[in-house]
Amino acid sequence: MKAAVVVFPGSNCEADTAHVIGDVLQEPVEYVWYATAGREALAAYDCVILPGGFAYGDYLRVGAIAAIAPVMEGVRAHAERGGLVLGICNGFQVLLESGLLPGAILRNASLEFRSQWVHLRVEDDRTPFTRRYREGQVLKMPIAHGDGNYFAEPQTLAELEGAGQVVFRYCDAAGRVTPAANPNGSAANIAGIRNRRGNVLGMMPHPERCSEPLLGGVDGLGLWQSVVAALVQV
């Protein structure tokens, strides 16, 4: 697998992501600068990752200014080609703003930034990002965001659910999807969704922050291993 980590001005998880892929998984990984233009900009990569952070300070709306950055043309083309695209936290927000995934992100219902560990239930273990997990498996991952409150019109939500595009949901330790386990007010406890085709995934929690035992958990590792496995199979 050859991965690209896109760097926007204000990204701040690009090094963490590259560290997991390069140092922990020992797979090739490169940074791609936001100003890289053209549909073929990302053609050399298997998986493109939009990392967490505060691209452009998140100043207008989270992810909005990054969504019009030159590199996004290449990201869109990559997704259309069937290449893998993963947006984590701010990267998820960028995918929503750019229309690569449906819906929008609002401020956390608490109005506060939340940095804590949450539980996630794996809702779909057939995506290229989750095949190393089991459906129903409960993962523990950190979140760190002030805007993670997923919103979509009822019609869109119904479509997402109907097509099985919800990949992760916030739950309690026992896997129950409850309001108390929802850290940000997201509709239907949604923590991550995919596109119809299944090659674009956006999620608020940070798998790159829980892929080494020293950091308190390794539940994120399965996601990276899934991507590697999916690409080997291709």
Binding site: R61, I68, R107, A109, A152
Partner: protein, 88 residues
Amino acid sequence: MKLLARIHVTLKPAVNDPQGLAIAGGLHQLGFSGVEGVRAGRYLEVCLEATDRGAAERAVTEMCQRLLVNPVIERYRFELAEPAEVDR
């Protein structure tokens, strides 16, 4: 000509507005019992150079559609003023 666009971006009525709720709660706590609801939005002033008002209007509409507003959750309106009318 130089124009000032005053753009109001508000959440669509169907979208939850926790910030508006929090502000309403704060106003109630301060004793403003007449407050029935608050909606929080964004206000942008864009100063721009355009050949005429029509061109400006088209440009601002396009700015809103392409960047300033997320149509999934927001809607907008704007006015154009000439700097002479502007109070700052």
